[in-house]
């Protein structure tokens, strides 16, 4: 019991103890240590991926239920209790469907695009602190790593747009590239302000910096808002869902995708939503910290709080136009983010 | 304005071949070549700003197709119908799409439905029908595909 409590509340210590204990046994068998590390990492990656896929399915359900609540209807309620298995059924259906390859596609980019989007999305989670010491890999430059890896997904979207050999897809891909690039900058500037305040790029360090003082959402409120807007734009959700604007571009870059490849896009999209919310929770809402409940529960509560806000926004607002999207980023968000950074730096200095 | 007044006003500038009253609405027959001028006159001087529609009616018994222009005035709420009699074999009439833009599509429709040529029209392409169907609204139109509905 005590061990379980320790594991829940202060995961780092028992895990490292377990690791060194295993290392001792491993060395007793005369095996090289790096092999065990490799196995450990494999297990961690698989565990994180499994959790994230299940979580993405749950988020889809959650999003649909929230939308149903706002649209005075009931939402999925047929498959399983309260329709909980609906998204699972959808995914299974997508996975076993016929894989359609349209004529004249660029086969390489068409096939590789879902993977390029799917893999980095999951890779990012390696540096997220789910709980106290519960970090798959606590890099020193964790936040930089997140920014770098999330930037990769734009390649996947471009590849999807180009490879589909469809004008709607191409426009969607182009829009997406422009959108992600221009919203990345205010986002990075906001993160920079947070880094300035915490004095570290390590994710666990940023969480720790919020433990003795207030959460960064208070001093960085403007930053939090900018981060939410930019993050919402990065995950291509309404009102920034231009790349897949249904009424204009049919389905944008995934017009031609079906079956398993579409499922990859879909899962990646919702995992991205979770990622953005998780990063927002970590940077601004104090990460896993909180009273009474175990840290991992707090982490999820905060993340879902942000997800709920994003869902609320999504199901309320109409879509923004492409030139206004750019204008909004460069004319409003970027100066505000810069101002935020400068003011933060000045205040910290004096 | 009643139909007599409108008729008098048109007659001051343009020749009216024939005229009749139908349920209180003036029907004036105009010479084919004059239609654009009369339409412009109707619009500019008599303030019939709206061209409701252009269509045609086929009268095979008289060997005539009548092109019907229906005007409406927003100010006085009067309607006027201008009509042109055309030979069925050689149906050609100058366009008035330069005067009323709305005539553009209505003339295209009348053209494909009745086989009337609107000379001077900027884009007399097919509007509603696919290729291969010629003037279906003429009374003598026979389509081999047109079989009567099966008796249930």
């Amino acid at each position: 019991m005590a061990l379980l409590k320790e594991l829940l509340y202060n995961s780092g210590k028992p895990l490292s103890e377990f690791s060194s204990w295993m290392h001792a046994i491993w060395a007793g068998w005369g095996m090289p240590g790096f092999l065990l590390d490799f196995i450990f990492q494999l297990v961690i990656v698989l565990a994180v991926t499994a959790v994230l896929v299940l979580n993405a399915l749950w988020i889809i359900y959650y999003d649909r239920k929230i939308s149903a609540l706002m649209q005075i209807r009931k939402g999925p309620n047929r498959v399983g209790p309260f329709g909980l298995l609906q998204t699972l059924a959808d995914t299974v259906k997508l996975l076993i469907k016929e894989d359609v390859n349209p004529k004249k596609i660029d086969i390489l980019s068409f096939w590789i695009a879902p993977l390029i989007i799917f893999i980095p999305t999951f890779a990012v989670f390696l540096v997220l602190p789910f709980g106290n010491g519960l970090v798959p890999a606590d890099l020193n430059i964790g936040i930089l790593y997140i920014i770098a890896i999330t930037g990769l997904s734009v390649i996947g979207i471009l590849a999807a747009g180009w490879g589909s050999n469809n004008k709607y897809s191409l426009i969607g891909g182009m829009r997406s590239a422009a959108q992600i690039v221009s919203y990345e900058i205010p986002m990075v500037l906001v993160i920079l302000a947070v880094v300035l305040m915490s004095g570290t790029m390590k994710m666990s360090g940023i969480v720790a910096a919020q433990s003795n003082r207030v959460w960064f959402v208070v001093p960085q409120f403007l930053g939090f808002i900018i981060f939410l807007i930019a993050g919402n734009a990065e995950v291509n959700r309404a009102p920034f869902d231009l790349p897949e604007a249904e009424s204009e571009l049919v389905a944008g870059f995934n017009t031609e995708y079906s079956a398993m490849k579409f499922a990859f896009f879909y899962l990646a999209e919702y995992t991205n939503l979770f990622l953005t919310s998780a990063v927002a929770a970590t940077l601004f809402l104090g990460g896993w910290q909180g009273p009474f409940l175990p840290p991992i529960v707090w982490f999820f509560i905060k993340t879902y709080f942000v997800i709920t806000i994003l869902c609320w926004i999504r199901w309320t607002f109409p879509r923004i136009r492409v030139d206004q999207l750019m204008e909004f980023s460069w004319k409003y968000l970027l100066p505000l983010a810069l101002l935020n950074l400068v003011v933060t730096a000045v205040i910290l200095k004096f | 304005m009643n139909f007599q007044e409108i008729l008098e006003k048109i007659k001051t500038k343009h020749e009216v071949l024939e005229s009749k009253e139908d349920l209180g609405v003036l029907n004036a027959y105009i010479a084919t070549a004059k239609i654009a001028a009369v339409a412009a006159f109707m619009k500019d001087e008599l303030k019939f700003e709206q061209l409701n529609f252009i269509t045609a009616v086929d009268f095979p018994a008289n060997n005539a197709i009548e092109v019907v222009y229906h005007f409406f005035s927003y100010e006085t709420a009067d309607s006027v119908v201008l009509r042109i009699k055309l030979d069925r074999a050689k149906a050609e009439v100058p366009t008035i799409s330069g005067v009323f833009k709305t005539a553009d599509w209505h003339e295209r429709e009348a053209s494909e439905m009745f086989g009337i040529k609107f000379s001077g029209h900027p884009d007399l392409n097919r509007l509603l029908l696919p290729d291969g169907i010629e003037s279906p609204l003429r009374k003598d139109y026979k389509n081999p595909d047109m079989t009567p509905l099966p008796k249930a």
Partner: protein, 374 residues
């Protein structure tokens, strides 16, 4: 259905052709719009209609007069009552049938309910066009209530076949007025909610203000009618300008816009729903008792002649031009549909804007394709 002319023209290296439709989420039916694009900017546009041309006019030449009424339902399935009205009024005018007072008021009530139905559907569809997915559920909640009322009266939910030549087949159902009252009591608040949710939203106003500006003269020149024309600042409403039936007895406002841009057209429709509610309230109060159908001969044989009757439908002026030769069947029928003219103006107001604007402008024109193709 032809190849667009500028497809054959030389297209510069910067430009490309995009086929919007015939199957596209925002063309609301089987309409194809060929766009010439430079990046996202529209440099050329060509609407291609006729995919569901069914030659209603030719069909009607072979039907008896009373048989044609259900066909007019199907021209514009969203405001079927108004389309019935134009046709039925044409026959009545030719035959010189005078309707009993009660029938006129019933017609006005059904037509105004129908206008609300149509505008509510337009509102939800426009929400979908601009990417707001929630309005449709709110608007359909009210629309269902209206449909239930009209269904109780006529028996049809969409293609009502509401009017017969000379009046109605049935009287109003007993609870019609109480339901109407209940509905109108809350409808005003609901419209305010719709406006707060979508029409006044800053994202939407940014997208629609100053977009697709249609000035007054162009609108009239193109024969544009209905809310689109009124959005351009022309206070022209057939219910006021050429009052038919008993519309002259009601007190209502002709809603107009200022600039003729997309947002004005939206606002005009929202206001029109309020005015319709106002007319309904008055009509319910003024509804006289008595007969609901005039004496109509068993065989309908109008005198030879021609007639053009027009009504203000939800989309604009719908007119029926009818030539009768004294037989049981019309000699020629021409349906003048509002969307036909409203679509023809699309090219004029769209060039130079973005793809997203094309969708918004098309949504604000409120097109129904079957009445264009007929």
């Amino acid at each position: 259905m032809i190849k667009a002319p500028f497809e054959m023209e030389k297209i510069s290296d910067e430009e490309y052709i995009l086929n919007m439709g015939p199957q596209h989420p925002s063309t609301h039916g089987v309409l194809r719009i060929v766009l010439k694009l430079d990046g996202e900017v529209v440099t050329g546009l060509y609407p291609d209609v006729g995919y569901i041309h069914s030659s209603v006019e030719k069909m009607c030449e072979n039907k008896k007069f009373e048989m044609i009424t259900p066909y007019t339902d199907r021209l514009d399935y969203l405001s079927a009552v108004n389309y019935n009205w134009a046709y039925v009024a044409a026959v009545e005018k030719l035959m010189g049938i005078q309707l009993p007072e009660r029938a006129e008021y019933m017609r006005v009530m059904l037509a105004e309910l129908n206008r609300i139905m149509s505008h509510l559907l337009w509102y939800s569809a426009f929400g979908m066009d601009v990417g707001a997915l929630t309005p449709i559920f709110y608007a359909f909640r009210e629309r269902e209530e209206v449909i239930d009322m009209v269904e109780g009266m006529t028996g049809g939910r969409l293609t009502h076949h509401a009017f017969r030549i000379g009046g109605f087949k049935n009287d109003l159902q007993k609870d019609f007025l109480s339901r109407l009252e209940k509905f109108l009591a809350k409808f005003e608040d609901r419209i305010c909610e719709y406006e707060a949710l979508l029409i006044n939203n800053v994202i939407l106003t940014a997208r629609t203000k100053g977009v697709g500006i249609l000035d007054k003269d162009t609108a009239i020149n193109y024969g544009v009618t209905g809310p689109v024309l009124r959005g351009s600042g022309c206070a022209i409403d057939l219910r006021k300008n050429a009052p038919y039936s008993v519309y002259s007895k009601f007190d209502f406002r002709v809603c107009t816009g200022k600039n003729g841009d997309t947002w004005d057209r939206l606002k005009v429709r929202m206001d029109e729903m309020r005015e319709s509610a106002k007319i309904l309230k008055q009509a319910a109060a003024m509804l006289p008792a008595g007969e609901f159908c005039a004496k109509v001969p068993r065989v309908i044989k109008p005198a030879p002649g021609e007639v053009y009757t027009k009504v203000e439908s939800a989309r604009g002026e719908f007119g029926v031009y009818m030539v009768s030769d004294g037989t049981e069947k019309p000699y020629r029928i021409k349906f003048r549909s509002p969307s036909f003219s409203n679509l023809s103006v699309l090219k004029e107001i769209t060039i130079g804007s973005k793809i997203a604007d094309v969708v918004a402008i098309m949504g604000s024109l409120d097109l129904v394709i079957p009445e264009i193709d007929r």
